[in-house]
Symmetry: C2
Subunit: 220 residues, 2 copies
Amino acid sequence: MGRPKKVRDGDAVLTYELIVTRATQLADNDGIEQLSMRRLAADLDCGVMSLYHYVADKEALIEAIVDQVAGEVMPPPGDLDWRGTVKLIAESTLEAQLRHPWAVPIWSATWPGPNRFALVEQLLGALADADLRPDIADLGFHAISNHIQGFAQQKISFGQLDAKSAITAERVQALVADADFPRVVEHLEFHRSGQVTPDEFVFTLELILDALENYDTASS
Amino acid sequence: MGRPKKVRDGDAVLTYELIVTRATQLADNDGIEQLSMRRLAADLDCGVMSLYHYVADKEALIEAIVDQVAGEVMPPPGDLDWRGTVKLIAESTLEAQLRHPWAVPIWSATWPGPNRFALVEQLLGALADADLRPDIADLGFHAISNHIQGFAQQKISFGQLDAKSAITAERVQALVADADFPRVVEHLEFHRSGQVTPDEFVFTLELILDALENYDTASS
DNA sequence: ACCTGAACACCGTTCAAGT
DNA sequence: ACCTGAACACCGTTCAAGT
């Protein structure tokens, strides 16, 4: 009788969801390079090896927390046209990624989990509604994905530029002082000064969608 | 008299270039996760700590080998129009990245070295020749960069799909069997079957360049 | 079924010391 | 200037053993 399972902190028991959630928080707070099985176990107040009953290895854990982020993306309502649907998916994905910057560089390099597959399914579905030529739809899917991915990475990189990090500030200084790459310096300044339109994300996205639509009508 | 420096393997002496080249080879052969300071030192037949006289730390080494890859990109000849220049830069960058797949996921996440800055400078220069509106040029720069980056990652991911790796094969099987994501499965099949046009890379690139040009002429 | 400590085979890097 | 071994503070994971 009584609980057969070990009880800790009231009713909390070691769980796949708990492990993944906690690991995500750890990555959010300290960066993903600080996430280790040992630190995670210490955080969860359990033995290191207990984790391996819920997760095959560290790689699987990383895949799980990336998919956790993918799970934060809002599913689009069903009553929008395809362009509106694509736009909502893109914006929501970007927001989720910016909430968890560590996920961005590994997003496309890790095997997708169920949440990310669901996301891809939604985007492919929206593009199917556009009735594009199959190869144009495929190209569009990748162009849109790349745009989201690249914009998130860009935002993160430029964000670190203005951050407290004295070492990058020093490096930017060196770059400007060298004067070997005037256009790069100008480009950095362009971004730093906030001259870039605040909604460049959807602006470029619309440009992509226009190109897809135009190509299709032009050739059919 | 005689050589003041320690000589190993005939005339070979420990050198920044030697270290970076060797590290790149190690990453090429065994993957970047196998690249450690200790293995690199063993490869170079020197003490581990000797490396630290040429390289600040492992992060600096990683930046150096990514920049080594950027250095393989062919500089475009000066007598082309801006579209031709952009196309050559893009193709040459893609080729270099596919020769060193490990560099792709970290490419945009690491601080650029001189070779990568030179590359950015060239691309910005080509776009400057196009006389686009500054914000369109900026957007174009990122769209083109994202396209190269995303296409390389895509190619690598799908490449690993057909590779010997039994574990991904198993996972694709599971995905198909689940039938939860019919469009994803269809999309995978589309790529696997080689239905995708072989030059989708330049095709999409041209679509981007068209969009840039069209937007500019339409609004000026 | 769930949990675990000890042990193994690794890491990057500091420090103090050699030539 | 260039090189280095020992030591420190970590890693992920196997294995054998506990409840």
